[in-house]
Symmetry: C3
Subunit: 227 residues, 3 copies
C-alpha cells in the first residue's frame, strides 16, 4: 500500500496527465497477507489493529484526494480492497476473464475503501449487498452490466486495447481532464472522507476485539478443513 501511495504521490506532482494502474501476471489484487496479519494481531492486538486501520485509511484517502484521472486495467481476479477502491477511480477496464469478489463477512470483517457508500450508488443497495454481505462473485461482463466496470476487453488483445485507449485519452488537454474530474468529485470528497473514517473505525474495533480475532481464526480453520 505504501509503494502505491508513493507512486501516486510522484504521479500527482510530475508532468503526467493520468495514471494507469494494473498488475503483472494473472491476478489483479488478492487479499492482504492474512496469516502475517493474524500473527501481528496475536503479538499486539490493540497496536496492530490501530496501525492496520490507519494504513488503510491513509491508502484510501490517497485515492479520494488524487486529482488526475486514474484508469484501472483489471487483468485478473480483483479481491477485497483491490475491488473496493475501483469506484474511487475514474475508468475501470477489465479483461473478460477478470472477476470481482469481496468476502468480508465470511471472515468477520466489515467493508473498506468507501465501498459501503460507493457500491450502492453505482448498482443500488440490493446488488451492492449481494457483494458486500453475501460475497457474491461477479464476472467481468456482469460487473460491466452493474456499472462497476466501464469496458471489457478480450483477453487476447487486452494489453494492446488498454494501451490504445490510454493513448487516445492522453492526447486530451490535461487541464480539461483534471477540471472534469474535479467537477465530478468536488461534491463527494467530504462524504468519502467521512465514510473512510467510519469504515476504518469499525475495522479497528473488530480487529481489536476477541470476537473479531475469533472470526478470523474460524475462517482460517474452515479454509484448512476444505483442503
Amino acid at each position: 500500500m505504501k509503494e502505491l501511495q508513493s507512486a501516486l504521490s510522484t504521479a500527482g506532482a510530475d508532468g503526467s496527465k493520468l495514471v494507469l494502474l494494473s498488475a503483472v501476471g494473472s491476478v489483479f489484487c488478492c487479499f492482504l497477507d492474512f496469516i502475517h496479519f493474524i500473527r501481528c494481531l496475536t503479538d499486539d492486538r490493540k497496536g496492530e489493529s490501530a496501525r492496520m486501520a490507519e494504513a488503510i485509511r491513509s491508502f484510501v484517502n490517497t485515492f479520494i484526494h488524487f486529482t488526475k484521472p486514474i484508469i484501472i486495467a483489471v487483468n485478473g481476479p480483483a479481491i477485497g480492497l483491490g475491488e473496493s477502491i475501483l469506484p474511487l477511480c475514474d475508468l475501470v477496464w477489465a479483461n473478460e476473464k477478470a472477476w470481482f469478489q469481496m468476502h468480508y463477512t465470511t471472515f468477520g470483517q466489515s467493508p473498506d475503501g468507501c465501498s459501503m457508500i460507493m457500491f450502492p450508488k453505482i448498482m443500488g443497495g440490493a446488488s451492492a449487498n449481494e457483494m458486500l454481505l453475501c460475497g457474491r462473485k461477479l464476472m467481468a461482463q456482469e460487473a460491466c452490466g452493474k456499472g462497476l466496470v466501464s469496458r471489457v476487453f478480450w483477453t487476447g488483445t487486452f494489453t494492446q486495447d488498454v494501451m490504445d485507449h490510454i493513448k487516445e485519452l492522453a492526447s486530451c488537454n490535461p487541464v480539461m481532464l483534471e477540471k472534469s474530474k474535479s467537477l465530478v468529485r468536488c461534491n463527494m470528497r467530504l462524504e468519502l472522507e467521512q465514510a473512510n473514517e467510519r469504515e476504518c473505525e469499525v475495522l479497528k474495533k473488530i480487529w481489536g476485539s476477541a470476537q473479531g480475532m475469533d472470526s478470523m481464526l474460524k475462517y482460517l480453520q474452515r479454509k484448512i478443513d476444505e483442503f
Copy 2:
C-alpha cells in the same frame, strides 16, 4: 401493516440475526383494501386521510430504522407499497414469475415508501419515472437488470434456493451484518425520514381533498367498466 411492524419490533430485539420477509400463496403484496378505504374516507375524510397517512409514515419509518438486515423473497406480484419499500430492505430475491408495478398516478395518488428518492438512486430518474409516473410493469429479470431485485430464482426451486442462501448468510458474524448495514445506512437515515414525511404529507392532502376522492372514484368506475 401493524402486524408486520410488531413482528419487526420483536425481531429487532430478540437474538435473530436477520429477517426474511415473504408471503404465502401466489401474491407477494397487493393493494391496500381500496373499497374499505374509500368507505372510511366517505365517512370522515379529514380524519381518515390523516390516520392512513400516519399509518404509512409509521410503517415506512419502521423499515428505515430497522438495524438488522432484511431479506425480501418476492414470491409473486409486488404492487404498490409492497414494491415501494423494497429499496429500504437489504437484499431482494425474486421468483422469476414475480412482477413489479405501481400505478399510483392512475388512481390519482402520489408515491410512498421513499420511492421518490430511492428509485431514482437505483435506476436513474427516467427509469424510475416509467414506474412511478407511467405505472410500467417490470418482470423479475428486468427488475434485476435495473437493480431493484438483486437475485432471481427459478420458480420450481424458489423456496429451497431462498432457504439455502439465508442459511449461508445466517452463518455470518451477526455483529458484522449489523455494522455493515449501519455503515451503508448511516448517511441516509435523515434523508429517508424527510422523504417519508413529505410523501405522507402529500398523500394526506390528496386523500383529504374532493379532487383526490374524485380521482379514486373515477379509477374504480374504470375498473368496473372493464368487467
Copy 3:
C-alpha cells in the same frame, strides 16, 4: 436556446399538463455552431466567453426549475448539450436508431448541463466517464441499459408510439404529475444549481483562455485534415 426557454416558460404557465420535446428531421440535437462561436471569441474573448457561459447557465436552470414533467423523444443523434440535459428531464424515449455522444474533451471543453453530477448518479462514475472523458458513443439500447434512456421504440412506429404513450400519461391527474415531480426533485434543486454554476464558471475560464482557444482551433484543424 432562447426559443426553447421561451416555449418552456409559456408551457409552465398555461394549462398544459406536460411538455414533449423532440426534433423534426433525422437529428435530435447537434453541436452549437462552432465556427460562429470561434469567430465571436476571436473578436471579444472575455465578453463572448462570459455571454456564452451565461446563456448555457440560464438555459440549464430553466430545466432545473421547470415543475411539469418533461418527456424527451430522441428521434436521432443527440450530441453535446442536447444529451447532457437528458437527466434533467423526466422520461427519455428514444428511436432505436438514435445515438448519444459528448466529445467535450476532444475539443478541450468541460461538460455542461449538470452532466458531471447526473451521469455518475445514473450509471456510476466509470460508465459516466467513458462518455464525459472518452467521448464514448452509446446506441439507444445501450443508453437504455445504462439508465440514460427509459424506453426504446422501433423506428417505423416511433412517432405513433410516442403519441400513444403521451396520451396515456396526459390522462393522469395533473396535480399528481406535478406533485410527483416535486417530490423527486425537491432534494436536488440546490445541488443542481450549484453544479450548473460551477460547470459554467469552468467553461467561461476555458473559453476565455488562450489555451482553450488553442484547443478548439486544433480540434477544427484535425476535422479539416480528416477531409
